[in-house]
Point group: C2
Chain length 151, copies 2
Amino acid sequence: MDNQPATSGPDLLLKKLAEFRYELRRFLLFSECAALEAGLQPQQHQLLLQVAGAPENTAVTISYAAERLALKHNSTVELVDRSEREGLLERRADTDDKRRAILCVTRKGRLVLGRLAGDHAKELNELAPRLTKALKHISFDAHRSNFAEVR
Amino acid sequence: MDNQPATSGPDLLLKKLAEFRYELRRFLLFSECAALEAGLQPQQHQLLLQVAGAPENTAVTISYAAERLALKHNSTVELVDRSEREGLLERRADTDDKRRAILCVTRKGRLVLGRLAGDHAKELNELAPRLTKALKHISFDAHRSNFAEVR
DNA sequence: AAATCAATATCGTGTCACGATATATGTATG
DNA sequence: CATACATATATCGTGACACGATATTGATTT
């Protein structure tokens, strides 16, 4: 049956995936803690990032933020509510389409975000090699693991 | 048209980070949906993955899972409770140390996990290039952006 | 044996994402 | 141009879940 080396068989992919998710989770934890220490809820940080980091020519509406955060509209509305309440963000009326709310990061928001961005870049600089490595291993396995599909 | 390139100034790092988090979030959403469609809560999937994907020689306890998931102990206990209740996982007594609970994925759990692993490998195979690319860009920027600026 | 440490468990609380639904504005169609 | 439909945002109630504080049991040390 399984008289095989420890790192082989169907478990190999699981090990690689587990390692990848572990590294990923560690980064996310770092990010969450960094945000909290900066006085932001992790999701508020993500919202500010997507609003401030949007391309110049796009209208940054609630819908846009929802898509970038992969959230439902209503969840995003609530996130914006909370962020606006804390002065990180502003809703501005769109003269073209009065249904829409244009989102603007306030000075306070930009300040916090800028600090977080630096920290994240530094952390990612360390993490990137391990993450990339883990990814490559999985990609390599992906081909050979299309056998035991229990469809 | 701009005489300056669209991607310049202090916003450059924010744009890169935003793009990276967007790709990352898309993967996480895929993973969450895949888990739910397979009948698992996303976190249950992660728990099973870390338990089944652990190295051979390590004792897979609650503490181990907590560390791999970057959760507090009590959160992990509850996650294990929910998973055990659904027959995905089992607690087994550790004869050496009776405080510890050894975690074992059930046959049912392994089956679901195996299917998810295949899907994830395939998805990561597509995502990996974009994610790696985004990471490289950030790493490149990290050096020059060790300060917080407001435009 | 007492004190201390370690692993797991329990309980109450707060955050937040969601589905369902509502309202207002824009767009298309007869 | 009135009516139907689509789109953007907002509201409300619900549930999952992560956490701090605390408890309990078993190991370790002195």
